[in-house]
């Protein structure tokens, strides 16, 4: 035990003396939450759109009213008037506007005469999401212009859909929290544990302790335990901060907190041992750098943290079945948003546990006690 504790203490002391690493491990996931939370909130806002109304007839007016309603309501775009169609189109090309809408002078006339009225819509289609949204809004505005105005309330035959939320409402910002916590765990496990072994090896430090009577399990176990304590601490901190930022209520109190702590600890252990298997024989930190980006993409994106697993194609779904981060996200979501107890997430916990046990065994087996 003295030996194991010595390995742990060495690692923790070295970590403590490098506060920059700690600051980065805490800041990055939080910045990630703030940026991801604000950059694509699921809806678009204030896209600049220019219009040129050369008609000014009744139909054109009606069409413009429909657009103005969108500008005032969902605020998807802000409308700017112009006289010169050429200049408007140029503006789109230069990137000043996301789109230019041009209503030709014969628009109202053709509408009345049922003579195929046309509206020019010039889109900056290099920005796929914006242009698709604007196209749809303009389409429905045109449709509304063509159909006679009927108030919904005067239409008795229409069925009414009433949304029933099964759980208390989760907004986009809150839904990111499990992903951010998993991200924090991933970063923590990448920069502790096996990484310290790689660094020691790179600097030739490993030689000094390989020469001592430390066993494989002392070395691997010690590094995993110190990595676990550091990463768990960071993840719990990140979790608390993101709960405060996004305001998710922990209505079931202690029980819920305990479940979350168990998930965080187990996920950390799981990723730490996975890293040991992957990095166990790596001798250069640059390889870790290259692998980190790759691992983050293949573990995080198919985890269901940003996009539901149900919408994945079959092969990716199959991958998510063995991806430990997917189980961690699933468990966290259940506990956070559905107030699930431990029994509901037992499957996730069991998987994480087995995965950890397998990786831990593999990492000790593959660890080389020689240079």
């Amino acid at each position: 035990m003295t030996r194991l504790f010595a390995v742990i203490e060495r690692d923790l002391k070295k970590f403590k003396r490098n506060p920059v690493v700690l600051a980065m491990s805490i800041l990055m996931p939080i910045i990630y939450l703030v940026i991801l939370g604000n950059s694509f909130q699921g809806k678009l806002q204030a896209l600049p759109v220019v219009f040129v109304d050369q008609d000014a007839g009744p139909s054109a007016k009606r069409f413009m009213e429909n657009l103005r309603a969108v500008e005032a309501g969902p605020k998807t775009f802000s409308l700017l008037g112009s006289k010169d169609p050429k200049e408007a189109v140029e503006g789109v090309k230069k990137g000043i506007y996301k789109a230019a809408i041009i209503i030709p002078s014969d628009f109202s006339k053709r509408t009345f005469a049922k003579g195929r009225p046309e509206i020019g819509l010039f889109l900056d289609n290099t920005d796929g999401i914006s242009s698709e949204n604007i196209r749809n809004i303009v389409k429905s505005a045109v449709k509304a212009t063509n159909t006679e105005y009927v108030a919904i309330r005067e239409n008795p035959g229409e069925a009414i859909i009433r949304d029933i939320d099964l759980y208390s409402k989760v907004d986009y910002y809150q839904s990111l929290v499990p992903g951010v916590v998993i991200m924090a765990i991933f970063l923590g496990t990448l920069t502790t544990g096996a990484f310290n072994l790689v660094m020691d090896r790179f600097l030739g430090m490993d030689e000094s302790y390989l020469l001592t009577p430390l066993s494989k399990s002392h070395i691997v176990g010690g590094l995993i335990i110190s990595g676990l304590s550091i990463t768990t601490l960071i993840a719990v901190f990140i979790f608390t901060v993101s709960m405060l930022i996004t305001g998710i209520p922990l209505s079931r109190g202690l029980h819920q907190c305990a479940s979350i702590f168990i998930i965080i600890t187990l996920t950390t252990l799981c990723l730490l041992s996975l890293m040991f298997v992957i990095l166990g024989r790596v001798g250069h930190p640059r390889i870790v750098g290259v692998l980190s980006g790759f691992l983050n993409v293949i573990l995080f994106f198919p985890s269901g943290a940003v996009y539901p697993i149900a919408s994945f194609p079959g092969w990716l779904k199959a991958f998510a079945k063995v991806n430990p981060e997917a189980y961690a996200v699933d468990a966290l979501k259940a506990v956070l948003f559905k107030n699930a107890g431990l029994s509901v997430i037992a499957g996730d916990i069991l998987f994480l546990f087995c995965f950890t046990a397998l990786m831990m065994t593999l990492s000790i087996l593959t660890f080389k006690r020689t240079l």
């Binding site: 003295t2 203490e9 003396r17 030739g204 302790y209 020469l211 001592t212 009577p213 020689t370």
Partner: protein, 335 residues
């Protein structure tokens, strides 16, 4: 032989792909002996030490260190030895004290015993006053001394040192030498050292093996080794108007044993070089040569190396560049 052997190596070989780093080497080291391996960079010293200290598996052959086979009982060997690797391996982010303390705990030494031993060792290497400073603030020499003290915490029977003074300034080197001499006073401690500094081998080692390209080319006490080359001094002359007859004439002088012609100078193995130098110069003049410069030095292990390999350790050194080995330089590069 009656005395007990600390190290017995028989026909050990290590190959890295096509490179044979250590080539069929055999030797013995007696208990309590100060034994040295002298050889240029790349000779295979580090590879040999790594095999003896369980870090590398030999390709073939066998080594018994402190009564245990390194391949079969590595754990027992590790408990009996202390090793200072070529690269500096103390943690920069820890204090000298912490470095030693954690190392002692790797060996499972109890707190009370450990603390006593550390106090004694820190005092011995002269680091008591700096023990609570981060190693990052130490000089290369201090760091090396700490590393030597560190591997003595568990009272090893055999101490291995791989080029302990490499990259140190002359003054720090002397401090380390003094330290090793003090350690040698303990008769039960066997010391195995590698170096490419012939002064170091000569000053410290009771017995030296000279190694080149993975092979032992000579083994014995420094005096025995030097007695294998003719004469007792070396005179180096650089000449203008060199001819074969100059060499023949000079070689016929009674005090000259042998002359070796190098690219830009000739080397004479002579007796009493300082006294006989004028006569040698006269002889060269009378056969039509001009002496541009002359040096006389007492024979050293360097000359033994030159005698057997035809090249100097320093030449080898210059080719291999010494930037590889400063303090804290990745040992991957230093290998």
């Amino acid at each position: 032989m009656q005395e007990k052997k600390a190290i017995t190596v028989s026909e050990i070989t290590k190959k890295f792909g096509t490179i044979t780093a250590v080539d069929n080497v055999s030797f013995e080291v007696a208990e309590g002996e100060f034994f040295g391996f002298l050889g240029p960079n790349g000779a295979g010293k580090t590879t040999l030490i790594r095999m003896l200290t369980t870090l590398l598996k030999p390709t073939s052959g066998k080594a018994v260190v402190s009564c245990c086979d390194v391949a079969r009982e590595p754990a027992a060997v590790r408990r009996a030895i202390g090793v200072v690797p070529q690269a500096m391996t103390s943690d920069l982010d820890l204090t000298g004290y912490e470095n030693m303390d954690i190392y002692g705990r790797f060996y499972g030494i109890r707190s009370k015993e450990r603390k006593e031993r550390m106090r004694y060792l820190l005092d011995m290497v002269g680091l008591t006053a700096r023990a609570n400073d981060l190693v990052a603030t130490y000089s290369g020499g201090m760091r090396r001394r700490l590393e030597i003290a560190r591997v003595l915490v568990h009272k090893p029977k055999i101490l291995f040192l791989d080029e302990p003074t490499i990259g140190l300034d002359p003054q720090s080197r002397r401090v380390v030498w003094g330290l090793l001499e003090k350690l040698m006073e303990d008769d039960s401690l066997t010391i195995f050292l590698t170096t490419h500094y012939m002064e170091e081998a000569e000053a410290l080692c009771k017995r030296v093996a000279i190694i080149d390209a993975g092979k032992i080319i000579a083994i014995g006490s420094p005096d025995e080794l030097k007695s294998q080359i003719p004469g007792n001094d070396i005179v180096s002359l650089s000449l203008a108007g060199f001819t074969e007859s100059i060499v023949e004439k000079a070689e016929s002088l009674p005090f000259v044993h042998r002359i070796v012609v190098e690219d830009d100078y000739i080397r004479a193995y002579v007796d009493s070089g300082a006294k006989n130098l004028p006569m040698l110069i006269d002889e060269v003049r009378s056969s039509g040569g001009t002496v541009l410069s002359a040096t006389v030095h007492e024979q050293s292990l360097e000359d033994v190396f030159i005698h057997y390999t035809g090249k100097t350790i320093r030449e080898e050194e210059a080719k291999k560049v010494s930037f590889l080995v400063g303090p804290g330089i990745p040992q991957k590069l230093g290998r």
